[in-house]
C-alpha cells in the first residue's frame, strides 16, 4: 500500500505541482479528467457495452409494452415482474465495472482530496493543531515542549484536555511560505509542516499511525510511529472553496460533479451509451 501511495503521490506531485501557480479550476478539471478517464477505461475493459445496451433496450421495451397494452389484463398482471427482471439484468451489467473501478477510484480520490479538500492557512491566519495521545500516555503527566518553531508569529497552548487525552496549539502563521513546528511529546519528537500561501499544495490535515487502511484514508504524509505517544495529529486547515457564479462550493464537490460530467462525455465519445 505504501508503494502505491508513493507512486500516486509522485504522479500527482508531477501533475498538480506544475499548476501550483495556476488556476484551481484548471487543476480540478485535470484531476476530474484523470479520474473519469480511468472510470471510462475500466468500463471499456470490464464492461460489455453491447450487453449493457441490449439490457437497457429490453428494460425500455418492457416499459413501453406496459404503456401500450395496459388494457390487456395479461400484460398488466405480468408487466411489473418483467420490468423488475429487466431492470435487474441492466443493473447487473453495470455492477462488475463499478466494482472493479471502485477501489482505484477511491484511492485516486483520496489522493486528489489531499490537494483539493483544504487550502493552506494564509499569512497571519490562525491554525489549530490537535494531537491525540495514546491511552498509555495521560496528557497531564506526559511532558510536552515546543522544540523549534519557525514561521509563526505566535503560538498559544498547549491546551491539555484530559477528558479525551488531547493536546491543542493555536499557531499564527507569519509572512513566509512555509512554517514548521517541532514538538517533543514524552521522548519522541514530531515535526509538522504548515504551508502558508494560497497555492495548490498537498496537505495532510490528518496524520495517523502506520496502518494500511489509515494510509489509504490519509495518504499525503508519512505515518506516525506506532510506538510513540501520539496516535493522530490533526491540523485544522480551512476548507478550499470555489465560486460558481456567486455561490461558494466545496472544491471537492465541484470535482465530483466535473468527474461525473467528463465521464459521461468520455463514454459518449467512445460510443459507450450507459443511460
Amino acid at each position: 500500500m505504501s508503494s502505491m501511495n508513493r507512486a500516486l503521490q509522485l504522479l500527482e506531485d508531477w501533475l498538480f505541482g506544475a499548476l501550483a501557480f495556476g488556476s484551481i479550476w484548471l487543476a480540478l478539471i485535470l484531476a476530474a479528467a484523470l479520474v473519469s478517464s480511468l472510470l471510462v477505461g475500466v468500463v471499456l475493459i470490464c464492461g460489455r457495452p453491447q450487453a449493457v445496451r441490449a439490457s437497457r433496450n429490453r428494460f425500455q421495451a418492457r416499459t413501453l409494452e406496459l404503456l401500450l397494452f395496459r388494457h390487456d389484463v395479461r400484460v398488466l398482471c405480468t408487466a411489473c415482474g418483467r420490468i423488475l427482471a429487466a431492470n435487474a439484468v441492466y443493473i447487473s451489467q453495470l455492477f462488475w465495472p463499478a466494482l472493479v473501478s471502485a477501489l482505484p477510484l477511491t484511492v485516486l480520490w483520496m489522493h486528489a482530496l489531499a490537494w483539493f479538500e483544504h487550502r493552506p492557512a494564509g499569512q497571519g491566519h490562525l491554525t489549530v493543531l490537535e494531537l491525540q495521545l495514546a491511552d498509555e500516555f495521560p496528557v497531564l503527566s506526559t511532558p510536552v515542549e515546543v522544540v523549534r518553531a519557525e514561521g509563526f508569529d505566535n503560538i498559544v497552548g498547549p491546551v491539555r484536555i484530559p477528558a479525551c487525552n488531547q493536546l491543542c496549539f493555536r499557531l499564527t502563521t507569519a509572512n513566509v511560505n512555509n512554517a514548521e513546528i517541532t514538538l517533543r511529546v514524552g521522548t519522541e519528537e514530531y515535526r509538522q509542516l504548515v504551508p502558508i500561501d494560497e497555492r495548490l499544495v498537498r496537505l495532510s490535515p490528518v496524520i495517523e499511525r502506520d496502518r494500511p487502511w489509515l494510509q489509504l484514508m490519509h495518504p499525503a504524509d508519512r505515518p506516525l510511529s506506532v510506538t510513540g505517544p501520539v496516535v493522530r495529529i490533526v491540523t485544522h486547515y480551512p476548507k478550499r472553496t470555489v465560486f460558481v457564479g456567486q455561490w461558494e462550493c466545496s472544491a471537492s464537490f465541484v470535482g465530483i460533479v466535473l468527474t461525473g460530467a467528463l465521464s459521461l462525455l468520455g463514454a459518449r465519445m467512445l460510443g459507450l451509451s450507459l443511460f
Binding site: G157, P158, V159, R160, P162, A163, E248
Partner: protein, 665 residues
C-alpha cells in the same frame, strides 16, 4: 418608409429583423436614462454619516490640533451646525436625511412605536408582517405563507430619485433601511437590522461565577454553567423555529475544554475549532441552525470573548448576526452584494447596532473589553469604507460610522465630573477614548479628501450632537400622580415592570411611550380611547404647561425645556400616526428607561446609574449635528431634511414635492 429603407427591410430575413427589432425595443426600455448634467458640475459625491458627532467637541478637538483633516475640510468649504430632527433620535434623524422631510412625511417618530389596537410597543423601524397560519403535522407545523420583515419608513429616498435619473448610487449602512428599499442602487442595511433572534442584539454570557444566576437581562442573557472535568457545553441560541409548535429557539452546542492549569481553552462549535487564551476575542465563527433537518437551515456569525478560564470561567458570546454570505433576510440590494462583499473583504457585522452597550450596562463586559469591541467595529467599518472608496469612480456614495455615537453614550461619564457614574479612575483610564474616536473618524475624512478632484463633493454629516444624561425623568409616574394615567388598582410602582402594567385605559387620558413621545388616549384612534377631539386641544395645553413647569426636586432645575405639539412641528401624510406631544428635555435630563416601554416607577426624577451616560434625546436646539462640506454652501443655517434636496440639486435632479427641505446650493 423611403425606398432605400424598404429595400433594406425586404433584404433582411424576417427572423433577423424580428431579433433586431426586439433588441432595440429592449434597449430602449431597459437602459438607464442618461445622467443629468449637474448644474454644479458634480460628478462624484461622497457623504460620510458620522452618528453622534458633536459640533462643540469637534471644534474643541480641532482647536487642539487633533483633527487636521476636519480643519482642512472647513478651510476648503464650509462648516455649519446642522439642525437635527424633533425628537433628536437616530432613526428619526436619518429618516429626515434620506427622505428630505420631517417625521410626518416618513412615519418614523421614535425608536419605539405602539400599536393603538393592542397598546403594545414595537420597534418603529421594521416589523415582521405576514401570515401566521400553519398546518399542524404532529409536533411540526407547516407555515402556510411566509412572514417577512417590512421597512416601516415611508416617503421617497434621494437615492431612488438619483437612480431614476441615471446617477449610480452606493448607500451603505444608512439607518432605518431594513429591509432595504427596492432600488437599482447598491445598498446595505444599517441601524434597524436585527440579529438572528429578531432583536437589536442579544448577547449570552456563560459563567460559573457564584455571583451570577441564570437570568435574562436587557439585551442579553446570563447563563450559569457547571464545568465537569474542565468541560462545559454551552448552547448558543438562534432564531425561533417556525416549523415547530410553540416556536422554540433553535440552539447549537459550543463545547469548551479548558486546560486544568493554564489560562487557555479549546472551543468547538460545529465545524470550527478554536484555541483562545484568557482575554482573547475569536474571529468570526459561522454557526448553522437547523430548523428542519436536511431541509431548512439558517446561518449566522458570531464572535466570542474568553473572559475567564479559571475562577470564574466566563465566556461572552456576541449576538448571532445574519450571515452576509448566506443571508436569511434581505440585507442588501442587489441581494448578491452582501455575498460579494464577503468574498472581497471577509465576514462583517450585519446587525444594526453592533457595539454591545447592553453587555457593558449589565456588567458582563468591562469598559476595556467594550472598547476593544468598539474598535473592532470601527476598524472593520473603516476597512469596508476604504474598499468601497477605492473602487468608487462617479455617482453618489454614502457611508455610515456608528462607533462614535454608541461610545459617546457609554463614555460620556468619563468627561462629565457631575455625572453620578463619574470617577477619577474612569476619567484617567477612558477619558480620552471619545477623543481618540474623533481622530479615527478624521483619518477616514483625510483618506476621502485625498481622492477629491474638481468634480467631487464631500459632505460629512452627523445627525445630532451630545449632552450628559445625569438624571432620568419618569414621565408615566408624573402622569399617574397628576391624574392623567389611571391604574385598575393600587399601581405597581416597580422599576422592572414595563408595558403599562395595570393601566386602566378606560380612565386614562394620556400616556408616555418611547423616549420622547407622549400620546393622548384619543377616541377613534386608541382601542380604549377616552378623549374626544373637542377635549384633546385643552388637554394638550394642560400637559404642555404642566410638564414645562416640572422641576428636579434635588437640584431645583427645570427638567423639560419645551414640549412640542406634534401638529405644529410635523406635516405630511403620516403626521397623525405619531405621538401628540414630543417632550424636549433640558441637557442632563432624559426620559427614564422605564418610561421608554411604559413602566411606572415610584419617583419622578432619579439618578442615572447606568454606564449609558451621554445622550441626545433632549430638546433639539441643545444637540445640533455637524455639516462639513468641501464646497461652500449658500445658506448659513441648515437642517437634516435640507440635505436630500441638496444632493439632488448637486446632480441637477429635480426635487420631488414630498421633500420639504430647502437645497443649500
Amino acid at each position: 418608409m423611403n425606398a432605400e429603407a424598404g429595400r433594406t427591410c425586404r433584404q433582411m430575413p424576417r427572423r433577423t429583423f424580428l431579433k433586431a427589432a426586439t433588441g432595440a425595443l429592449l434597449a430602449a426600455g431597459c437602459a438607464k436614462p442618461p445622467a443629468p448634467s449637474a448644474a454644479s458640475g458634480v460628478q462624484r459625491m461622497i457623504v460620510l454619516g458620522i452618528d453622534g458627532m458633536d459640533p462643540q467637541l469637534m471644534r474643541r478637538f480641532i482647536d487642539e490640533g487633533r483633527l487636521p483633516n476636519c480643519q482642512r475640510l472647513i478651510e476648503r468649504g464650509s462648516f455649519l451646525p446642522l439642525g437635527t430632527s424633533c425628537p433628536p433620535q437616530s432613526p428619526v434623524a436619518w429618516s429626515n436625511f434620506v427622505s428630505g422631510c420631517n417625521p410626518g412625511g416618513h412615519g418614523i417618530f421614535d425608536f419605539i412605536a405602539r400599536d393603538p389596537l393592542t397598546m403594545q410597543p414595537y420597534h418603529s423601524v421594521s416589523r415582521l408582517t405576514g401570515t401566521s397560519s400553519a398546518m399542524p403535522l404532529g409536533n411540526w407545523r407547516i407555515p402556510l405563507g411566509a412572514a417577512a420583515p417590512q421597512n416601516l419608513r415611508r416617503g421617497v429616498t434621494f437615492w431612488e430619485e438619483l437612480e431614476l435619473h441615471g446617477v449610480d448610487c452606493t448607500v451603505l449602512r444608512v439607518p432605518a433601511n431594513f429591509p432595504p428599499t427596492k432600488t437599482d442602487a447598491v445598498t446595505l442595511s444599517g441601524m434597524g437590522t436585527p440579529d438572528l433572534q429578531g432583536n437589536y442584539g442579544t448577547f449570552t454570557y456563560f459563567t460559573d461565577d457564584p455571583k451570577h444566576r441564570s437570568r435574562e437581562v436587557s439585551g442579553g442573557r446570563i447563563e450559569k454553567v457547571v464545568l465537569d472535568q474542565h468541560h462545559v457545553r454551552c448552547q448558543i441560541r438562534g432564531p425561533a423555529n417556525e416549523f415547530l409548535a410553540d416556536n422554540p429557539s433553535v440552539e447549537v452546542t459550543l463545547e469548551v475544554d479548558r486546560d486544568p492549569v493554564s489560562r487557555v481553552a479549546r472551543l468547538v462549535v460545529q465545524n470550527t475549532t478554536l484555541v483562545l487564551a484568557e482575554g482573547e476575542w475569536s474571529d468570526w465563527i459561522v454557526v448553522r441552525f437547523s430548523l428542519m433537518p436536511y431541509a431548512v437551515e439558517v446561518s449566522g456569525i458570531c464572535r466570542v470573548l474568553l473572559k475567564g478560564v479559571h475562577e470564574p470561567f466566563g465566556l461572552y458570546v456576541s449576538s448571532v448576526n445574519i450571515n452576509p454570505a448566506e443571508p436569511s433576510a434581505q440585507i442588501s440590494t442587489p441581494p448578491d452584494y452582501a455575498r460579494q462583499l464577503v468574498r472581497e473583504i471577509g465576514y462583517f457585522y450585519t446587525q444594526g447596532m453592533v457595539e454591545d452597550t447592553h453587555a457593558l450596562s449589565a456588567g458582563v463586559l468591562t469598559a476595556a473589553e467594550y472598547r476593544q469591541q468598539a474598535l473592532f467595529v470601527h476598524d472593520e467599518r473603516l476597512r469596508f469604507y476604504q474598499h468601497e472608496l477605492q473602487r468608487f469612480q462617479q455617482g453618489f456614495l454614502f457611508y455610515y460610522f456608528s462607533t462614535l455615537d454608541l461610545s459617546s453614550h457609554m463614555f460620556w461619564r468619563a468627561l462629565d465630573p457631575g455625572h453620578p457614574q463619574f470617577t477619577a479612575e474612569l476619567a484617567q483610564a477612558h477619558g480620552d477614548f471619545i477623543g481618540s474616536l474623533y481622530e479615527r473618524v478624521d483619518q477616514a475624512i483625510g483618506e476621502t479628501l485625498a481622492t477629491l478632484d474638481e468634480q467631487s463633493w464631500l459632505m460629512v454629516v452627523s445627525d445630532h450632537g451630545f449632552t450628559s444624561f445625569r438624571r432620568q425623568f419618569n414621565l408615566n409616574s408624573w402622569l399617574l400622580d397628576h391624574g392623567y394615567l389611571q391604574t385598575t388598582g393600587p399601581a405597581q410602582r416597580a422599576a422592572v415592570l414595563t408595558g403599562f402594567p395595570d393601566v386602566d385605559w378606560s380612565r386614562t387620558r394620556a400616556y408616555g411611550l418611547g423616549i420622547n413621545g407622549l400620546y393622548v388616549n384619543r377616541k377613534g384612534r386608541e382601542v380604549y380611547g377616552t378623549v374626544g377631539s373637542g377635549d384633546a386641544d385643552r388637554l394638550i395645553q394642560e400637559l404642555v404647561s404642566g410638564l414645562e413647569a416640572v422641576r428636579d426636586p434635588e437640584t431645583g432645575e427645570r427638567v423639560i425645556e419645551r414640549v412640542f405639539v406634534a401638529r405644529d412641528v410635523y406635516s405630511g401624510p403620516y403626521a397623525e400616526a405619531g405621538p401628540d406631544l414630543i417632550v424636549g428635555y433640558r441637557p442632563n435630563y432624559r426620559a427614564s428607561w422605564d418610561t421608554v416601554l411604559g413602566g411606572i416607577p415610584r419617583q419622578h426624577v432619579v439618578d442615572n446609574r447606568d454606564p449609558w451616560s451621554g445622550d441626545h434625546c433632549v430638546a433639539p436646539m441643545f444637540v445640533p449635528g455637524v455639516l462639513l462640506s468641501s464646497r461652500p454652501l449658500r445658506s448659513s443655517a441648515a437642517k437634516l431634511e435640507d440635505l436630500a434636496p441638496t444632493i439632488l440639486r448637486g446632480f441637477g435632479v429635480s426635487i420631488p414635492d414630498e421633500m420639504t427641505g430647502t437645497p443649500l446650493i
